[in-house]
Amino acid sequence: MGDIQNTDNIESNIDNNNNNNVSLESSSSSQNNNTNTTTTTTTTSVDNLQVGVLSISDQSTPTIETPNQQQQQQQDDNNRGVSNETIKASLDGLKHNSLKTTFPNSTNHQYIDVNTQWITNKLKERESEFTEKRGMSIFLGTWNVNGKKPSESLDPWLKDPSMSLQPDIYAIGFQELDLTAEALLLGDTTRSLPWEQHILNTLQGDYVKLLSKQLVGILLCVYVKKEHKPHIANVQSDIAAVGIMGMMGNKGGVAIRFSFYNTTICILNSHLNAHMDNVLRRNQDMKDISKNIKFINESSTDHSTINIFDHDQLFWIGDLNYRIPLPDNEVKEKIKKKDFYNLFLVDQLNQQMKAGAVFEGFQEPPISFAPTYKYDAGTEEYDSSEKKRTPAWCDRILWKTHKKAENVGILSYKRAELISSDHRPVSASFVIKIKVVIPDSKNRIYQEIVKELDKKENDSMPDANISTNMVDFETIKFMQPISKQLIFENIGQVIARFQFIPKLDETILCKPWLKISPLAGMMIPKEKVTIDLTIYVDNLTSGLFNINNNSTNSTNESMDDILILHLENGKDYFISISGKFQKTCFGNTLDNLVRYPHPIRNNLPIPPEQKKLSIPKELWRIIDYIYYNGLKEEGLFIKSGVTKEMELIRDCLDTAEPFSSISFSIHSMAETLIRFLESLVEPVIPFNMYQQALDASSSPLSCKTLVSHLPSVNYNVFFYLISFLIETLSNQKENDLKPDQLAIIFSTVLLRPSPQSQLSQFPPDATTVKKKADLILHFLISKDLIN
């Protein structure tokens, strides 16, 4: 890239418009020519920005194009004042410059570690307890170099003989460091290199560069003493351009922030808009820059951002361009008399700050030096050109301390007599209180915070008391529900939500014979809840406990379960359930019953090699009783029995006690017969023959065939029962029974689908009921069907 050698003459070019093109065209390649032309219009703005603004706003809005098109068009547009493409290019240049962290959209879902966040905040609150203040010095310098390259020694500016010790931090800002088109349009920053080298040479090896950041002509470099390097963290920079549509980088600001030990420091170097009349513009520039510069908040986990004011120490330096609105000769007169006080009274920046219109909360050290602008470059004379610009304190250094931070100590505020530019460099030195962590104290406080959090967390967990962890139901009888109550009491400080939960890898909460109510609930502190536990063993569940095939010992009568009562965010309570099932002839299989010679209650195992009974002895006892005592009873099997009496009958059956020991109505015995048949684990006509039976029901012969295929015990029971029913019907005159009534009653218990089968629907449909009844009815009316 060709340099434009004569940028230092830009202003005179403008003043003397004829020379403009000549000087630029003399520089180099054709493409540069092109950009040069545009540069003239846009960057000459040091004093003539409005020219640029106007000429650009004459053009239509920028459009987005590919770089190739852009170049091509630039060639075509050669010699045109300012083109869309120029703006576009400068936009690109800025984008390139402003490449920085993209801030995440805060509305996106993200996991936020709130605990860590909370601890970090708490720690910050107690910072003073684990840090000590140490005075450190910071040197800030600002110089508008007017596009000049380094030519003089920087010692008079950067080496402050009044400081006994070397500054701990150097922050050096330049403006108009680079007035070339490349800087403005392409983001070229090579011009800064010789300056940075020059600074490093001046600082002589005791310092390391932290970061430098450039926005076109605005450069900010921060250096720290080597020994401090390990105590620096979170170094970030950002830039903000102001001016034409907020994107022409010839005016704007560059900021660098970092943590210095435990103190956060932000330094901002800006070049605000020029001209005596542009006070409000400058005020706005300052506000725009402060608003647009952002950093990532590294101490938070939620990617929030912070701005320049979120720092313990903020320094704002630069060519702020505020002027002294007095006649030129009057100003010069006062300068001669060193009457800076009266000049300062009317200084625009001073006025604006006093009015609260800009740099709110900022402070500036007292000025005791002559205005730093505008000199004839290379001389000690104020502007002698036709324009005779009134001298002004354009170049300033301000600071602002965070509320809690201690004030800074001013060591010096002065200008240095370097003459190569039309501005004089300015510098200020301060002592600032730096918070230095005392590691032991910090650890202690961190632990205190964490402990406090743990304690709060543990204390805020729900706690409850349960009346017992063991619920013994003792003896549980068939078909006789037993309930027990648990009292669950909230003894904690917070609402307790509870819920019974299944054991690992299980889906059911408890055994099928147990009912829990309620399964879940909540209690406010001190509240009690009664939890009902009910055991009820019915036909479906009794099979689990009764005599069964493979159990050689018959200890399976014990009913055990463990319930897990879970408190949300807290403990689990185990509740052991125990009980002993009283065995009964109900709810067994026919096969087991005929192999069991003892009273069921004897609780003995099924004897091996036991000769089978032809039918269960209990069935025989029931039918035998009815046969001798109730055949003529009116409403036999129609009227219902008495529950209590049926329980007694069941006890007699299970203990082999004679029925004579108890009293009951015949209807209780009749219903016992039906209930007994109903309770069989598998009905007399087995599950696997259910469908066949329905199919056979239309033909007596098919029914006969079906029954002949029953397993022998089932056949025996069927035969015995049907014979008994036929006998019952022979007493029709007395008992008034109808065959179809009996058929319906007994078909429902003799013939039922497996509870797991799809066929088992309740209530069954009418055709199925009819088919079942038909099957039994055939046997009741054709007496020779069974033989």
Binding site: Y111, V450, D572, F574
Partner: protein, 201 residues
């Protein structure tokens, strides 16, 4: 650098025969006190406690379990998904030491693959009635890659140390996330859903 960095969260379960001092150890560690008549745990209790190491912070979600044999089948609910376990025995009881060894084996077989197991011989204050020799337990622990410490919940000897050693040994991978063992139906491992979000670049 400062140590207020990430907090690593781990689920820790205490196992061991009833009355060896599991609950007492937790109580000593978390609340700093000791009860002569510690109510026996019938269920599982949850407490949280954080350990600050030099460079990291480890937060334990502690599940104290019931030691009674009748609840043995429920133990996997609590050790499943646990990254650390303390298996406790009473130095006065060989049976409790045998039981501890069984727990260690069960954990090695069915616990999380990289579970950090610590063996704790508790009631060190009653060393006069010691039945399990330190060397014996020490050797077993070494052979099985366990941390080992003799502790006293009563005098607090080695209690913090025990948890600190575990905290040190736990891997601080960036994927260790504050996954709570206490969501809804808590003890069932919830597979640590949320993902660690790395800083935007």
């Amino acid at each position: 650098m400062n140590n207020n960095n990430k907090i690593f969260q781990f689920k820790l379960v205490l196992l061991g025969e009833a009355a060896v001092g599991k609950s007492s150890l937790v109580l000593r560690f978390v609340r700093g006190h000791f009860l002569d008549y510690q109510e026996s745990t019938i269920g599982a209790a949850f407490l949280a406690q954080t350990v600050c190491l030099n460079d990291t912070t480890v937060k334990f979600e502690i599940w104290d379990t019931a030691g009674q044999e009748r609840y043995h089948t429920l133990a996997p609910m609590y050790y499943r998904g646990a990254q650390a376990a303390i298996v406790v025995y009473d130095i006065r009881s060989e049976d409790s030491f045998e039981r501890a060894i069984k727990w260690v084996k069960e954990l090695q077989r069915q616990g999380s693959p990289n579970i950090v197991i610590a063996l704790a011989g508790n009631k060190l204050d009653l060393a006069a009635k010691r039945k399990v020799e330190t060397a014996e337990a020490q050797q077993y622990a070494e052979e099985n890659g366990l941390l080992f410490m003799e502790t006293s919940a009563k005098t607090s000897q080695n209690v913090n140390e025990l948890f600190v050693e575990i905290a040190k040994k736990l891997p601080k991978t960036p994927t260790t996330r504050p996954g709570s063992g206490r969501v809804a139906i808590a003890p069932i491992d919830n597979g640590n859903t949320g993902k660690k979000n790395k800083c935007c670049n």
